[in-house]
């Protein structure tokens, strides 16, 4: 590690925090449910769609609308993927996707996971990328933001029966936030070298007289929303490591910035809406702390190189370069890896499967902690608030008082629902991994022998249930078993998680906001930040420790002993 390297990390994180401050304020009217000057523009659209923006929904109505919107999105995307062979904008002449892969891919993009069991340049028509995948990149992100707005209102208001209008929130998050930011960012990406054309590919003859075909397509715009919406599904199979998707260190830095800026800003929006900006800053601080720690581990471990490879004759200066691109450098590779998994984005600029055992454990663990550091757009914030409720509950148990958060009494119903949501992740991850490790049809997908093979399977279900989408790429993911079970894990991680969250929101919204008393635990400072971090580690992480011991930790020690598999 060098100071020069840490300077790169610090500058990118600083740029994200500095941009999040005004963005957090800009989103405040939207979070309030106030259309402002743009309301006049929305009116004809809402009228045409049969939406009454003044009509707010109960938590059930809000959740039902969200589910219907996502179910419709799934069906549309599934049909598009199955039929792409007969549809236009298919210059490479790709066939429709087979049913299991189309199911997996449609679920993946609707749940904001963007797990990819296909490779874009070898399977997807331009129409599928543009009108299918990229549209769900926007809408799944907007769904997350809308849900976060609803949950914020429940905390900020008192005696509320209704949480707002899902259709209005999702429309505003798309039109006034994600779309303009994507256009600006997309133009920046074109300038840095990401293609944007309707041509399929270009053939050329190299200096040595060999033929090379360069894949092209409308990539830049889709890559912009892929990061801003923490989707992560690459236009090309190699994702942001592909030289046409991550052409240089500036592009990779901008992608890191884009995948954390909205989750950061939403923390601040929450603080403003609750009338207590410190509360939002504490959440952001905890996220930053975990991201820095994760980056430091990946950076240090990868810079140290692989002892087996050094002994075989590699110069240690560059560190472990297997599966890494030279142009990004290790610091931005480490920061990308930590932010993409902390933020539920899932894009990669290096292949996680070839990281050192402990380097690969960081992205895995950041996902398993519940995708709240900072988590996906919207989903990260409501996940973090869930942990905040559990943190005040744990503190309340210690002193024997009814816990409060932002003046809302946290009672049995909320804590039960919060635990229900938090348990979805270990159930889906450990359950499916355990079954897959004893089924021959599933273990045939594993590439690496020994503990690393176990990590490949564990990572796949962690990524799916956490709605992350990154992969230990050695695993052959496009098999009927994995397509279907990973699809189910993605659905559980998104919807089985968010329905209890909405029920908590409904229950909290109805409660009055009490004034702070002398016995209230202050939740706007360092003490609570530490408590929250501890609860995330213990409640979010501890149940995965045995699995991690069998995977990356076992591999780490056997590698130190010089053992290969």
């Amino acid at each position: 590690m060098t100071w020069q390297g840490w300077e790169q990390v610090a500058l990118v994180l600083l740029a994200a925090v500095l941009a999040a401050i005004p963005l957090g304020r800009l989103m405040l009217p939207m979070a309030r449910g106030d259309g402002g000057a743009l309301a006049a523009l929305e009116r004809p659209l809402f009228a045409a769609c049969g939406i009454d923006p003044a009509q707010a929904q109960s938590w059930r109505g809000y959740a039902l609308a969200m589910l219907a919107f996502n179910a419709g999105g799934f069906l549309l995307l599934y049909a598009l993927l199955r039929l792409q062979g007969m549809l236009p904008l298919n210059p490479q002449g790709f066939d429709g996707l087979p049913p299991a892969l189309a199911f997996n891919t449609a679920v993946s993009f609707v749940t904001n996971t963007n797990w990819q069991a296909y490779s874009g340049e070898a399977a997807m028509s331009h129409l599928s990328q543009m009108a299918g995948l990229a549209v769900q990149n926007f809408l799944s992100a907007a769904t997350g933001i809308a849900l976060a707005f609803a949950v914020m209102r429940a905390f900020a208001g008192g005696g509320l029966r209704r949480l707002g209008n899902f259709w209005v929130d999702v429309t505003r998050a798309t039109l006034w936030l994600l779309l303009p930011l994507s256009i600006l960012l997309g133009l920046g990406f074109v300038a840095l070298g990401i293609p944007q054309t309707l041509a399929g590919s270009v053939e050329l003859t190299t200096l040595e007289g060999a033929r090379q075909t360069i894949p092209l397509g409308p990539a830049a715009f889709q890559v912009a929303i892929k990061h801003l919406g923490t989707n992560g599904g690459g236009f090309f199979g190699a994702n942001s490591a592909h030289p046409l998707e991550g052409p240089n260190a500036l592009a990779t830095g901008l992608q890191i910035w884009a995948q954390i800026v909205i989750p950061f800003a939403l923390c601040l929006t929450f603080g403003h809406l609750a009338g207590a900006p410190r509360q939002g800053r504490v959440l952001l601080g905890v996220m930053l702390g975990f991201l820095l720690a994760g980056t430091a581990v990946v950076y240090a471990v990868e810079a140290g190189g692989n002892p087996l490879h050094l002994a075989a004759g590699l110069d240690p200066a560059l560190g472990n370069m297997e599966g890494k691109e030279l142009r990004f450098g290790l610091p931005l590779t480490a920061l990308f890896t930590a932010t993409t998994t902390g933020a539920s984005c899932g894009a990669v600029n290096a292949m996680l499967d070839s990281l050192m055992p402990l380097g690969g454990m960081v992205p895995l663990f950041l996902i398993q902690l519940g995708e709240v550091l900072p988590g996906g757009v919207g989903s990260g914030l409501y996940g973090m608030l869930l942990f905040a409720l559990l943190a005040v509950f744990v503190a309340g148990l210690m002193v024997g008082r009814t816990p409060e958060y932002l003046g809302k009494k946290v009672q049995a119903r909320e804590v039960k629902l919060a635990m229900l949501a938090v348990l979805v992740l270990p159930l889906a991850i450990l359950g499916f991994t355990a079954v897959s490790l004893v089924l021959p049809a599933a273990t045939a997908s594993i590439q690496d022998a020994g503990p690393h093979g176990l990590t490949e399977m564990l990572y796949a279900f962690s990524s799916a249930a956490g709605n992350n989408g990154s992969a230990f790429g050695g695993l052959t993911a496009d098999t009927p078993w994995l397509d279907v079970t990973l699809g189910i894990a993605m659905l559980a991680g998104r919807f089985a998680y968010v329905v209890p969250v909405m029920a908590i929101a409904g229950s909290l919204a109805a409660k009055p906001r009490l004034a702070e008393g002398p016995g209230t635990l202050p939740t706007g400072g360092l003490l609570f930040g530490g408590l929250l971090a501890g609860v995330i580690l213990i409640l979010g992480g501890l149940q995965f420790l045995p699995a991690l011991a069998l995977g990356p930790l076992a591999e780490h020690f056997s590698l130190l002993a010089g053992k290969t598999f």
């Binding site: 300077e7 790169q8 769609c49 419709g72 999105g73 549309l76 070898a122 543009m130 009108a131 549209v135 999702v170 779309l179 997309g186 840095l192 070298g193 054309t197 270009v202 050329l204 190299t206 200096l207 040595e208 060999a210 090379q212 075909t213 360069i214 894949p215 409308p218 715009f221 889709q222 190699a238 490591a241 592909h242 030289p243 052409p247 260190a249 500036l250 087996l308 490879h309 075989a312 590699l314 110069d315 200066a317 560059l318 560190g319 297997e322 599966g323 890494k324 691109e325 030279l326 142009r327 990669v348 499967d353 070839s354 990281l355 055992p357 590439q447 690393h452 790429g473 056997s558 590698l559």
Partner: protein, 188 residues
Amino acid sequence: MTAIIRPALSLLAGFTLLLGVAVPLAFTGVAQLLMPGAANGSLVLREGRPVGSALVGQAFTGQEWFQPRPSATLADGEAAAYNAMAGAASNLGPSSAALLQAIEGRVAGLGGGPVPADAATASASGLDPHVSPENAARQVARIAAARGLPAPRVAALVAEMTEGRELGIFGAPRVNVLALNLRLAALR
């Protein structure tokens, strides 16, 4: 029920047309108008014909060329380095015996260690267009001999083509292999 179905379907249809068709097409038009080079893959022309993309690595196998990093890309299941239509990594884990064996083989092929790490490891995309300055420097003597050029001239070319960090801050020092070989071809 219609209170939910109608908004869901009409918003989906509207957003698909807007975000999936109208905006990307308009965006493509603007990108093609303002930045045609970058929007079309940053192709490098030589005598009017494209010989590669400035961003995408390509295979050089002859002794008289600077050679890129190893590449794990495949074509029809067979090893085919720098197949740009199927960018891929080895995805082999750090304790993989196959990876260790591959690295030992590459180190031996380069005349023994220590060799710069990028010269014996495959990149994430299999299409890395760069090598480290140390990797390029190590190839100077071979190329000078193969081309009958004085080694200092080739070394000076490597130094000239070495790019520093972007904005002086981000990324890593590197040499673009295609750009370097184009200049090499022009040396006499």
